[in-house]
């Protein structure tokens, strides 16, 4: 689960054995004694451990008190470097997302195009894993270079291709054995463990080759020849055979028969019938894409070999090693099981030999599995190997083993992406992976692995941005984890904040986005950047905090609304911009500013329009629930000259009643202990009351 790469029996549906915990060493430089460890999870699955030292008496102050060490758990892909791993992680996003959207387009009915989509996906992922190294073509081909590698295979690529062969590539179901032959020729070097492999023997022989005068004198030559033939590396066999000294000009006269035999074997090897549609360039054999033609060719080919085997020319061949070596090659081509077994090293090599020369028509997983078991019995010494365990799981049609092996040996990236192949491969795997499980909190195994992978991606500042794509494909818990992931981003940094907001918009996580803006707003506000603080709080539509800021602004300008302080905070409000109208507190400040402006324009009795505007603003302010109560009296006191307007009343009866009610409410509020008195002259309340009463009387009379 969360990326802890270990003996993950937790993925197998078998009861846990208590012995499978493993110990991770945490290296630090703290001198003993250690008093305690303090732990904290950072983003993703990084665990930070504070190793705290117990201070000793008489030590200098320079002695550190401990150290904090970060451990990234579940960092897998041992054969892939970090930068390369990130390239793969980024590269696999698009194929994954495209496949998901194609699957989602047609969820109910059987999607006839799905196999094509899956193989396209598989090939794209596979190409990411290939580390293609373009080698320059040699000007003069060295005839002694029998082995040529153009790419550097990785275990992940080998594992992916195995799964592609068995689960995704439905079109080549008919020639799985031949695909395995190709697979082994690409990856035989990876299964090299304590035991040698054919590849390792070839590499050894290649180094010796330069010093050999007559290769056929060296028994190793015949060994590697028959081994290479056993696993179908026909091009290498032909190349090696042509190194035979009988080809040399000075020898050809005296060794004509010998050379004829060698060349006949070369022709037979090159003409080997293969049950496959095609061969890549440079590979040998004759392809047949249907069984009847293949059988015909096969029987003819075998007949030719038998004929050669019984030929009288052997008696004329004077070179014993050549005679015996070539005869052995013929035995391999004739399918002699004991010779095959003797020439191969690893069980999978023997397995491939069987496909090629004994059972070319092997079909069906069961027979392949039985054959594999038989080969393992013949080659018991093969040490456990992750690719072999995986192959074994695949052949045994055991999805649990395949899952466990993927997770244990290849990590969360592999399993998350390989599940697409597994589910395409069989209905049984599809059911197993999509069944909702109570033990997992209601999610299926597929979702579990996507969550785990997303968590691995979240661990790194350069990959967390792609985690949402995988989380979005999780139906049940993806959004929950995405919310937490977003909440843990350092939104005090503007770029992170903007990325965060963008992701929130994309996945409609408005609350999470608003929260991030709120955190940023508060941070800026408290760190002397009042403008950005208010901006982000407005973006977050955090009226609660904006109201408090509005109140702080009042406090800032002082309790009295003198003309001088008005100028001071009018500038601040302008700075806050016009967008603040959505937020209550600043909305009030804006209204108040309008009110004060109109009031200031009322200089004499002629300014009736300004006076009317001011009284409208006053009513708006008093009606607005966001106007703080402690400001009511100041507002009313400022407006006394409007109430006592000589020409005519500016406020009608309902408006005056509204103000009177507010005044009454205020008188009641003054009885409460937490009431804050406005900084006004003591007679303020009574003069407002008198002005309101007078205005009411005049308004009634006027109406």
């Amino acid at each position: 689960m969360p990326g802890v790469a270990s003996n993950s029996d937790d993925l197998a549906l078998i009861p846990h054995s208590p012995t499978n915990s493993h110990t991770i060493a945490l290296h630090h430089t703290v001198k003993p004694p250690i008093s305690r460890l303090s732990i904290a999870w950072a983003r993703g699955n990084s665990l930070r451990v504070a190793v705290i030292r117990k201070p000793q008496a008489g030590e200098s102050d320079d002695e550190p008190g401990g150290q904090v060490v970060e451990v990234k758990l579940g960092v897998d892909e041992a054969d892939i470097y970090e930068a390369q791993w990130r390239r793969i992680a980024y590269g696999s996003v698009t194929p994954f997302a495209v496949l998901q959207s194609r699957k989602n387009l047609n969820t109910n009915a059987y999607n006839a195009d799905l196999p094509a989509y899956v193989i396209e996906y598989s090939r794209e992922i596979n190409s990411l894993l290939g580390n293609q190294k373009v080698l320059p073509d040699p000007v003069i081909e060295d005839p002694k270079t029998v082995l040529q590698r153009v790419d550097e295979p990785t275990f992940s690529k080998a594992a992916w291709e195995l799964m592609e062969i068995f689960f995704a590539d439905k079109q080549s179901d008919g020639w799985i054995p031949e695909r395995l032959v190709d697979w082994l020729s690409d990856y035989d070097n990876l299964i090299h463990g304590e035991q040698p492999t054919i590849y390792s023997r070839l590499v050894d022989f290649q180094t010796e080759l330069v010093n050999l005068q007559a290769v056929e004198e060296d028994p190793k030559y015949w060994d590697v020849l028959s081994a290479a033939l056993a696993v179908g590396w026909l091009d290498i066999v032909v190349k090696l055979l042509r190194l035979h000294s009988s080809y040399q000009h000075n020898q050809i006269g005296s060794r004509e028969t010998e050379n004829g035999l060698v060349e006949t074997v070369v022709v037979l090897v090159s003409k080997m019938p293969r049950l496959r549609p095609n061969l890549s360039a440079g590979k040998l054999g004759e392809c047949f894409d249907n069984k009847p033609d293949f059988v015909k060719a096969w029987e003819k080919w075998r007949g030719q070999i038998t004929k050669l085997d019984c030929s009288a020319f052997w008696l004329q061949c004077g070179h014993q090693d050549t005679r015996e070596g070539l005869k052995k090659l013929l035995q391999i081509m004739l399918g002699n099981a004991s010779v095959l077994s003797a020439t191969t090293f690893h069980w999978v090599e023997l397995f491939i030999g069987h496909f090629l020369y004994i059972r070319p028509f092997t079909v069906g997983m069961e027979s392949m599995y039985n054959l594999a078991q038989k080969c393992m019995q013949f080659k018991p010494g093969s040490s456990p190997h992750k690719l072999m365990e995986l192959l074994n799981g695949i052949l045994g049609e055991n999805t649990e083993v395949v899952l466990a092996e993927c997770s244990r040996s290849f990590g969360s990236w592999m399993i998350t992406h390989a599940i697409e192949l597994l589910t395409a491969g069989s209905t049984q795997a599809d059911i197993l992976l999509h069944e909702e499980r109570n033990n997992l909190g209601g999610i299926c195994i597929e979702e579990l692995h996507r969550l785990v992978y997303a968590q691995v991606l979240s661990s790194h500042a350069l990959t967390w941005q792609i985690a949402p794509i995988y989380l979005a494909s999780c139906k049940k818990q993806g959004m929950g984890l995405l919310e937490i992931l977003l909440y843990k981003q350092p939104v005090g940094h503007n770029q992170v904040l903007l990325k965060n907001i963008e992701i929130c918009r994309m996945y409609e996580l408005d609350n999470v986005g608003a929260n991030a803006m709120k955190i940023a707003g508060v941070h800026h506000w408290k760190h002397g950047k009042k403008g950005s603080g208010v901006f982000w709080l407005q973006q977050a539509q955090d009226e609660f905090r904006l109201n408090r800021i509005a109140q702080q602004l009042f406090d800032f300008v002082g309790k009295s609304v003198s003309d001088e302080s008005f100028k001071q905070w009018e500038g601040l409000i302008e700075l806050l911009g016009s967008q603040s109208k959505a937020a209550g507190g600043l909305d009030f400040l804006h209204k108040y500013r309008d009110f004060k402006r109109s009031l200031q324009q009322v200089t004499d009795i002629a300014c009736i329009d300004a006076a009317r505007k001011a009284s409208e603003a006053l009513i708006l302010l008093m009606k607005n629930p966001s106007t703080p109560q402690r400001f009511w009296l100041s507002l009313l006191y400022d407006s006394v000259k409007l109430l006592n307007w000589k020409e005519r009343t500016l406020l009608n009866v309902p408006q005056t009643n509204l103000l009177l009610n507010k005044l009454q409410e205020l008188s009641m509020a003054r009885l409460r202990p937490d009431f804050i008195e406005a900084d006004l002259p003591p007679q303020a309340l009574s003069s407002v009351r008198l002005a309101l009463a007078t205005n009411l009387g005049r308004a009634i009379l006027e109406e």
């Binding site: 689960m1 009861p15 915990s21 945490l26 705290i52 002695e63 408090r548």
Partner: protein, 326 residues
């Protein structure tokens, strides 16, 4: 794969990372609060940015205030008091840590053992556990002002409120706020390590909005284990499970509890103990859930970090152990 992030000052005894892991606060034996910061979000190099003496006695615990309320920490002192310190600046160049609020402690009064912050419906709550077995809940009325706190509730960690007992001696307590965000109920779990068995077991408290009071909704202890001293409690994040998970550590080991979300007629939530894990001899000190709530990391007397997970069958087991080594 490991990486050294920073070196601690001499005498450091407590530490805490902020919400995003970019700031690290440590408390020392002589009452010094030290802050380490990472300037760039993608780098993992930290530098010491502030060092201030905040008290005369040692800082036994540091807790960050939720980021919606600023960059602030609460420090618990060994004399039983605690205070809240905040980073503020009049202009971006002059950043300083200032004292917001001090909750005094002295030998005559009950000492504070643990504190925890929680955000619920636009309000910041501060849960405190005292050595006399009392739990106090404070509220912050003004979200921009960490100076004023109002006492919202005060109760004892017992299911039956009529229970009375004499003088309580409590060595430690542990509070864990339900980390789920959103419009759900606000709740927390708390357990004590005291000489009163009734008080000890971990209880889940939920705020009843209708009656404006805290109610115990679950007790995380089996009948025979109710008096066991609780060392630490940790509530797991829930990314979509139909139940909550809480881990509790007692003298018997680490227990994993599943808590149902719907209450029965008497207002209790169903609880199920799904695992009892042993590993740290002598008990666990600290338990931390990862962001998905799938892995529990614990530390304890044995000087190791242990990682626990559940397998596909729901069986909890130790997934790995981390052994510090020089």
């Amino acid at each position: 794969m490991e990486k050294a992030l920073l070196t601690l000052e001499k005498g450091t005894i407590s530490s805490a990372w902020n919400y995003c892991g970019q700031r690290f606060a440590t408390g020392s034996v002589n009452g010094t609060l030290t802050i380490f910061d990472s300037v760039d979000p993608s780098s993992s190099s930290f530098t010491l940015t502030s060092k201030s003496k905040v008290h005369d006695t040692s800082i036994v615990k540091v807790v960050w205030v939720p980021p919606e309320y600023g960059d602030a920490v609460a420090c618990i002192f060994s004399d039983g008091g605690f205070s809240i310190w905040e980073e503020v600046a009049e202009d971006p160049e002059h950043v300083q840590w200032v004292l917001c609020k001090s909750f005094e402690g002295n030998s005559n009064q009950a000492q504070v053992l643990d504190i925890e912050f929680g955000v619920f419906l636009n309000s910041l709550k501060l849960i405190t556990a005292y050595s006399d077995g009392l739990v106090k809940v404070f509220e912050l009325p003004d979200p921009l002002d960490l100076k004023n706190w109002q006492l919202q509730a005060e109760f004892q960690n017992v299911i039956d409120s009529v229970a009375k007992f004499g003088k309580v001696v409590s060595l430690s307590a542990s509070i864990s706020w339900n980390p789920q965000r959103g419009e759900q109920q606000s709740s927390f779990a708390i357990g004590f390590n005291s000489d009163i068995p009734l008080l000890n077991s971990t209880k889940v408290w939920e705020f009843d909005l209708d009656h404006q009071r805290w109610l115990p909704v679950a007790e995380l202890a089996l009948a025979n284990d109710k008096g066991d001293p609780v060392y630490t409690v940790s509530w797991a994040p829930n990314i979509g499970r139909p139940y909550e998970i809480v881990a509790t550590a007692t003298n018997k080991g680490i227990a994993i509890w599943h808590i149902g979300v719907d209450a029965n007629q008497v207002g209790r939530l169903s609880v199920e103990k799904v695992a009892l894990l042993s590993g740290h001899e002598g008990g666990a000190w600290q338990m931390e859930w990862d962001m998905s709530g799938m892995t529990l990391a614990t530390t304890g007397d044995d000087g190791r970090v242990r990682l626990w997970q559940s397998n596909l069958n729901g069986v909890w087991h130790e997934q790995a152990a981390i052994q510090p080594t020089t």
